[in-house]
Structures are given as C-alpha cells and as structure tokens.
C-alpha cells in the first residue's frame, strides 16, 4: 500500500506501541499532525513549550521503562527541545525525538524556521538521522527505537523534511533491524564475573556502589538479592536511588557531594568496591586523586565500556547488561560453599555503625521556621514512601534525595547529569500519564519552578493531579549556599525579588494553591492536598532562608573532607 511520509510516521509509532506523543505543532510538522488527528491509537499531549515536551517524554520513560516520544517542529521547535534532549542524554533516557525540517530543496537556503537539527543536537544524542528520502523513513524510525533502548540507552533524533512527509512510498514496517556498525557488548565476560565474585567473597571491608544503570536496566531485584546474600553495605548514587531499598538496614544512604558520612567513609575505606551501573563522576567521588587507594580493589560493571576506567582505574572491568551480570554473580555465589568471612564483616559493620552515629542528616526540627527537610520527611510519611517524586535542581533536589526513602526503582525522577532547572514539572506530567492514579509529587523551588511554569496549563488540559511541593526560600538556594560558603556571603543575583503570588498563579491556571508559613501547618496542608486526588495542588512552603544542604564535600575535595551543619 502506498502511504505518505506523514502516514508512515504515525504507523511506525503505532507499530512501536507508542501510547503518548508529547509535542507542539508547527509548519514543518503539519502533515504529521494531520495524520495524528485522523487516528486515535497514539494520543498527543500538547505542551506549552517544546522543552516541556521532551522533559515530559523523559519522565514518562524513566517511570515506566518505555520509550518516550516527542514531536516538535523545525527551527525554534528544535532549539527549544535541545535542553530536554541534552538532559535525557546525560541521564541515558531512552527516547525518540521526531523533528520537522524544512523541505529538502530548501535545506541550506536559510529558509524560514530552518536550523541544522542534526548538527545542533549531534553532541547530545545517542544518534540522529536526517531522512532525505521517504523510502528510508520507516527503517530510520525503526532504527531510532532500536538504538534508543539497546546498549546504553539514550535519546535518538529523527529529522523529517516536510516534503518527505508528503511523498508516498510502499509501507511495510521492518520487523528486524541490523546495523553492522552497532554491536554493543551486552553479555558480561564469565571469566571476569568469576574473578569479581572471588574478590567479593574474599573481601574484609566490602562496599557496593550502585548507580542509575541499575534503575535503567531494571536490575534492582538482582542487586537487592546480591547485596542481601553477601551481607554487604550498599550505597546508591543520586540517579540510583530506589535501586536498593532505602529502608533496608544494609543501605547506608546516598553518597557523594551531599551524601551521608557513612557512605562516603565506607567508599573511601573499603578494600573491595563493587561499582554497578555508575560512573565515578565528580559529584560522587570528588577528587579522583584523593579517592585513589592502592590497596582497594574495584570491580566495575557497566553497559558502557567508555564509563569504565574513565576517571578511576578499575581492577576487574565487566561490560554487559548489569541485570544479567548481577544474576550470574548471585548464581555463582549460591553454588559456592564460600561466604564472606563473618568476623571481618562484623568488624566492618561496627565501623560503619560508628560513622552512622554521627547522624549527619540531623537538622533543627524545633525551629519556628519551616525547615525544608521537615516538609520532605512529612511528605515521605504521608505517602508511605510510595509516591513518584520528580524534582528540579538545587537544594530541594538534594533534600528530596536525602530525606525521601525510595524503596522501589523508577520512583525518583530528577535531572542528575545535566542538572536542568525546569525539569520537574513537565517530567511529572509524563510520570502521571503513565501512572494514572498514582501520587506524583514534584519537589521544586521558587526559582526552578518558574523555568517551565507554563506547563501548569498542560496539567489543566489533561487533568493531571500533580502535587507541587514548592520549597520557597526566596533564593536560588544552592547558588546562595555556595556564595555563603565560598564567596564571602556575596549573594550575587541569587535573591529572587518580585516573586509571583504562587497561590493566585495556581488558581489562575485553574488549580488549587496553598501557602504554608508555619511548621505546625505542614502536615495538615500535605494531608489536605493528598486528599484532593483529582486536582493539581500547588503547595507554596515558605521555608527557612538560611538552611543549607549538609553534609557537603566542597568542589575538588575528597570523600572524607566533608563539612557538616554543626561545624558552621
């Protein structure tokens, strides 16, 4: 059957089982929108800004492990989408972004709404394509979905010129795809896995450090089994939270720049470190020279060979899907008679317990001002730790990561790599759509929320009953914190004057707004908001302006060079 390029695009999405497309129409994609209109299998979510479309598709993907799909027009549609694409790329979210392009004959002519989409996005996508011939369209979209989910996942962009959407060709959706130049190693080397297990079994001071790769590869059950089988302490990175249950006694809390004392100390002083789906980045280990220890053996399991021995030399590299590798480790240990030496492990745990006694996350709970940590703790209690939490970027993000205990993967959705303010609200829309009926809260701040606030309108249109937890301290809090600690209290441009009345703003968009100014009102307001299961509620918590995120490793310092709240 002869179909137009626009029809083929929609048919491909249907064949891939795409439920939602997040997008914004425009000249170059009018043919595609016309075909969207004529069918009802693929639902379209109309955002208010293309950045929101990509973040929403991202949140949809992260909370469900399905491919997120965004559709935007050429030129400014693409450039507005770039922040979202770069965010997804840094956090390895599987996504397909379809972009309109000016007709092929106009490419390079500086046509209206023309930009080099493939060129602009090249450094922030896993791969991208410009489709110049309608005959290549179906195969290209098939390749895009294949590339997005296999190996290390990531966003793939397909740029489709307008004349390609009009041209016709015979359509058959390809069943398989093969790319001779793309063969990621997905199965861990058995010899290396055996070597790694032996190191783990012989360890006296072991530590497990698991990152976002565990969540992305749905490897939380395997990780949990392995850690419990061995009795080892386990920490998660910001991206890995929920990969191991936070309420498990073997969990030592998040590590890194704002990680717990016990996790950072254990990372530094362990004799065998098992790193899984993590990449030793600057916010996790700080200064690599300080982290280095000649007597510590490191096993690193990751799907991406270029993540291994990038910042830290490792002793046993294992490239493969982490779920399969962990599974194989569990099997080898189960069939082995050897177990880690109990006396050594006991002594190591005693040391960790000693570090835990520092109680590094304590804060002044008796304050007459609302402490942001208290709001998160109450939210955690009232949602029984079972909500989907998205966040923006800054202090509130760190407090959310520190005080909301994630027991399940895919519940914590934040921009860890790129650190994109404005991510939280649109991401939450995607999360809510794929998890209807679930409690979805966006923990944000008055600076971040204003970066994509227009999406409140989208939430109204699609009846998304999000709970926005705005920790309003009238400052770009993390900027202010660095200025206080490292720039002699010179608060250059971090104070946000002339803030809107968020209650009225929420109401103007057709939502419920609440302003909470006293610690005593926090719990009541949260309870009331959570009861309104069919409404979006914007909770504006007026918090203590001077509160800082601790513990903290100053930039460029080592894991043991933390500073604590009480030291200041």
């Amino acid at each position: 059957m002869q179909l137009t390029g626009a029809e083929i695009t929609i048919r491909c999405l249907q064949e891939e089982g795409v439920e939602y497309v997040f997008g914004y129409p425009g000249g170059a994609v009018l043919n595609i929108y016309d075909e969207l209109f004529k069918q009802n299998k693929v639902k379209h979510v109309l955002v208010r800004h293309e950045q929101g479309a990509v973040h929403a598709a991202d949140g949809y993907s992260r909370s469900s492990n399905k491919v997120g799909v965004a559709l935007v027009t050429s030129g400014p549609g693409v450039t507005n989408a770039v922040t979202g694409i770069a965010t997804a790329y840094m956090d390895s979210s599987p996504m397909v972004v379809l972009t309109g392009q000016v007709p092929t004959h106009a490419i390079g002519q500086d046509a209206f709404q023309e930009c080099d989409a493939v060129g602009i996005t090249r450094p922030c996508v896993k791969h991208n394509f410009l489709v110049k011939n309608v005959a290549d369209l179906a195969m290209t979209i098939k390749k895009a979905f294949f590339l997005a989910v296999t190996g290390r996942p990531g966003p793939v962009l397909v740029d489709i010129p307008k004349d390609v959407t009009q041209a016709t060709t015979e359509f058959a959706y390809p069943k398989t795809v093969s790319l001779r130049s793309y063969n990621p190693v997905t199965k861990g080397h058995t010899g290396q896995i055996k070597k790694a297990v032996q190191l783990l079994l012989d360890a006296k001071r072991p530590m497990v450090y698991a990152g976002g790769g565990v969540v992305l590869n749905d490897a939380a059950p395997q990780l949990t089994r392995l850690v419990r089988l061995l009795g080892f302490p386990c920490t998660n990175t910001l991206m890995g939270l929920g990969g191991f249950p936070a309420t498990d006694p073997q969990f030592t809390g998040m590590l890194g720049m704002h990680g717990t004392y016990e996790s950072n100390m254990a990372m530094q002083h362990c004799d065998v470190l098992l790193a899984v789906g993590a990449r030793f980045d600057d916010r996790v280990i700080g200064n690599p020279a300080h982290f280095y220890r000649s007597d510590r053996k490191i096993v690193h399991v990751d799907i991406d060979p270029s993540s291994i021995s990038k910042r830290v030399k490792v002793d046993v590299p294992i490239v493969g899907y982490v779920a399969d590798v962990l599974d194989e480790m569990v099997k080898i240990i189960e069939s082995s008679a050897q177990r880690p030496e109990p006396a050594a492990l006991k002594a190591w745990w005693a040391e960790i317990k000693e570090w835990q006694r520092k109680d590094c996350l304590k804060y002044d709970a008796k304050s007459s001002l609302i402490k942001p940590q208290f709001v998160i703790q109450k939210l955690y209690e009232l949602t029984h730790g079972d909500a989907f939490i998205t966040s923006d970027v800054g202090q509130h993000q760190m407090w959310a990561a520190q005080y909301y205990k994630f027991d399940k993967p895919r519940r914590w959705i934040n921009s860890g790599g790129l650190g994109t303010m404005g991510f939280g609200l649109p991401a939450a829309m995607g999360v809510q759509l794929v998890n209807p009926g679930a409690t979805v809260a966006c923990i944000t701040g008055e600076a971040s929320i204003q970066m994509c606030i227009q999406e409140l309108s989208t939430c109204k249109q699609y009846h998304l009953p999000l709970k926005l937890i705005n920790l309003n301290n009238r400052y770009m809090g993390m900027v202010r914190q660095w200025q206080e600690l490292f720039y002699g209290n010179r608060y250059a441009e971090s104070y946000v004057d002339a803030l809107p009345d968020f209650v009225k703003l929420a109401e103007a968009y057709g939502h419920v707004g609440m302003k909470i100014e006293k610690p005593g009102d926090v719990e009541g307001a949260l309870r009331e908001a959570l009861k309104l299961t069919d409404r979006l509620v914007f909770l504006d918590f007026i918090t203590d302006q001077t509160e800082n995120v601790f513990p903290m490793i100053p930039g460029g310092k080592g894991l043991t060079e933390m500073i604590f709240a009480e030291e200041l």
Partner: protein
Amino acid sequence: MRHILSILVENEAGALSRIAGLFSARGYNIESLTVAPTEDPTMSRMTIVTSGSDDVVEQITKQLNKLVEVVKVVDLTEGSHIERELMLVKVRASGKDREEMKRLADIFRGRILDVTDKCYTIELTGTGHKLDAFLQSIEPGVILETVRTGASGIGRGERVLRI
C-alpha cells in the same frame, strides 16, 4: 605519545563531523586526519594521528567505538605498521637554485610534477619526518606553497582492518 588510529566508518553524511566533533567536545588532539572511501564504497577509512597518554588514547578509542556509524577502530601504533604522507610543494626554481632543487628532489625521491621557468611543483611521499626533513633542507624563502595530506597508515604483514 603519538598514536595513529585507523577507523572504518559508514560512508554517510555526517560521520566525519561526528568524529571531529567528538575530538573537539572532549578536548582530544587531532594532529592530522585523512579520509576516503575504501574498496567497498559504503565504507570509508580514516586515519587520525593523535597524541595523549595511554589513558586518554584508551578513552578516545572507546568513545569512537561508541559512535553508531563507526564500524571498527584500531590503534596502529600498538603493532608494527607502515605510515605514509604525501606532500606537494611549490618552490622557486630559477637561476642557480634550479639545478640544486632538482638534485634535492632526487635525493628525497621526489618527483617534479609541474615546471615553469620560475618554479617546480614537487611531489614527495614518506613519513612525516621525511617530509619535514625535506622542508628543512631548503631555504625557507624558496618555498612558495606546501600542501600535505596527513598520515595514512596500514598494519604490517597479515594484520588487516576489515569487517
């Protein structure tokens, strides 16, 4: 350390900018880069001369392999290999210099491709060092123009790079 990377890539628009973009985005050096299609017209072969510590070159190789259009990457400097570069150099050749220039070209086994009453255009191939040596052996004022291809490399003996 200097390394010569041989890369097989899909002969597609954009493959070159992906590779060049990777080097600039991650701050790696490119001393020279040559590229042309192979006997299989769907594939191109690229030779990149780069420098860096072993760790850096390991990362470069891994990052290149991650690019979807890259089929294969080999660090030629890991084994014995042959390396050649072609240079065209236009020199002033008049008066007493004319005979001397011809002799010098012969010594370096260069060929004179084009002659006018005032200048020669000489073709030279060899390692980069040999080409450098030629340029150093003539007076700088005599050189009118040079163009060099950058190194192309191939493994010695049975060592082949193909899919």
